[in-house]
Amino acid sequence: MSSRRPPRFVLALLLCGLSPGAFAADPELRAAIDTAWLVLTGALVFFMQAGFALVESGMARTKNAVNVLMKNYTDCCFGALAFWVLGYGLMFGANPSGWIGTDHFLLWGAAHMDYSLLFFQCMFAATAATIVSGAMAERTHYWAYILASTLTTALIYPVFGSWAWGSLYGGSGWLKQLGFTDFAGSTVVHSVGGWCALAGIMVLGPRLGRFGQHGEVRPIPGHNMTSVALGGFILWLGWFGFNGGSTAMADVSVGRIVLNTHFGAAAGAVGVLLTQALLGRPILLSATVNGSLAGLVSITAGCATMEPGHAALTGLVAGTLMLAGEALLLRLRLDDVVGAVSVHGLCGAWGTLAAGLFVAGQDFDLQRVLVQAIGIGAAFLWTFPVAWIMFKAIDTLIGLRAGGIAEQRGLDYSEHYESAYPEFEAEALHEEIR
């Protein structure tokens, strides 16, 4: 019975293991295996949304947990549709000018591999968008955030993406032509998300009482460190798909890619721990998780081209850089709830630079480093001003910031009328939810 037969890609994977020759000779088999690889890794990247949701909601207060979860859950819903309608075409469509894709909008009646790529890239777009939600948590109107997130996925992210990664259907992005290397998106995905987050928190302002009149910083610890740790583990796991899947094909290079990814994450956390120990500061779980995320972000650009030692070094530096970035933001009185700007923006930029510095067999090529720096600068110069204008426009038109009373009651009540912890209703700072 045909329904009892193992799926074709499973057979293909088995065949691949048993007979490399057969695998190379049969293009259909090769395509099936590549598709299986893309779908599997795309699913892992999708699982990262769960990681982001857990990390971000854990770092927020109880009264805003539902709001953070809702934003994470739904930005990838709106984002997927927006990326299908507009983003994929802008990013990967034929790009004769080098500045923007011009076709493959609303993909319809396309080849199987195109659908696989769209699926995989949808997950990447959602990642770029969801980075913003954590930074702006606890004081942003839900619908205003969703609008910003959708525009980021449909416009801001794909335009820069077309410069660095375009195109799949003819033509080439101008950064790509220069030789810019960003294998899985330290800059294309993470810095873009980080710089959007920076613009968002600048327009939004800090949470009520976050900074004192004399510049003192009031800590607002998250409510669930278990959730933060679990989210960190899930993101780490998902990143194997994020970087491993960026080969877009089942390939032997994946081994080194995921090993570098793992080393980057581990070294990022170690970098944070050592820095905190050297400075005589408490060893915080939240910072340690952010350290591993900083390592993951930074190794994303060069994971396919670095030696493992350099991957570890890149992650180690990222961990320390992440702490410095967070301190700088606080000094500037910028309130980033989860440290997204530092983790994704700053460490994404560092990772992209490191991808130019450390290339197996061709380390420290200054010409390459210069191109990387141009790419990093271009990402900032495109993303930050456009995102700032977008957030300003949203603020003017529909209001970006939830009112002070919403901050008192919590956005779970004011935006969703749903409590994450109804058993603790006595602690709630709002009217009873009926």
């Binding site: 207060r61 949470r207 009482g209 004192g212 800590p219 607002i220 008192q408 006595a426 709630a428 009217e431």
Partner: protein
Amino acid sequence: MAFDASASIPVTRDSALIEGLRRLLPAEQVPLALRLWEEEYSARPGTLRAYADRLVRDYALSQPLRDVHRLLVQHLFLPQTTARPAPPPPVVVPAAELPPLTRAFVELLEELFARFAQSDADAAGMTRHDLADRVLASSLERPQRDALIAWLEQSGPAPVHDYPPKLLRALVHLSYVGVCNALGPLPADRLLAAAIRYAEYHTEGVRQLL
């Protein structure tokens, strides 16, 4: 019947404790320290030492715990005739005369500001003043407005009028903002939650103010 927050404490023990507290704290902090005793320690036996320890920590007393404890014990065992009568509580509100929501409002804010003043008396005073300014700018009738302002400025008894819920909610929120700005969001959340618990224990309708 008058509503009196300290009525549950036996008068003799109240007097004796106040006498001891007066030797340790500035006069304006004595009612707050007494309230702390009433709420967290008086119902349990053998807690005087823990209470003394709390006083040393919360009020940063220079005396060692041993001396504070001894002082309190000594005063609790004073002959009743030597203990001065307890001072009147800060606010004695004729509960039956208050409209329910006004009563809930008074209970909530009294507790909130008592706790707020424990941490930062100046900021608490400033916030009360801000609230009074807000009331001044409202469109309330003169007697209503003046009574509320006087109470907020701590120069009059609790108001007995009915007030628009919207205004009372706004005043509660402004109080929260004041605590947030002075102490930070986390202490503000905790303080408001504690004040809500206290007020809900004594009256109804508190949630309508949130």
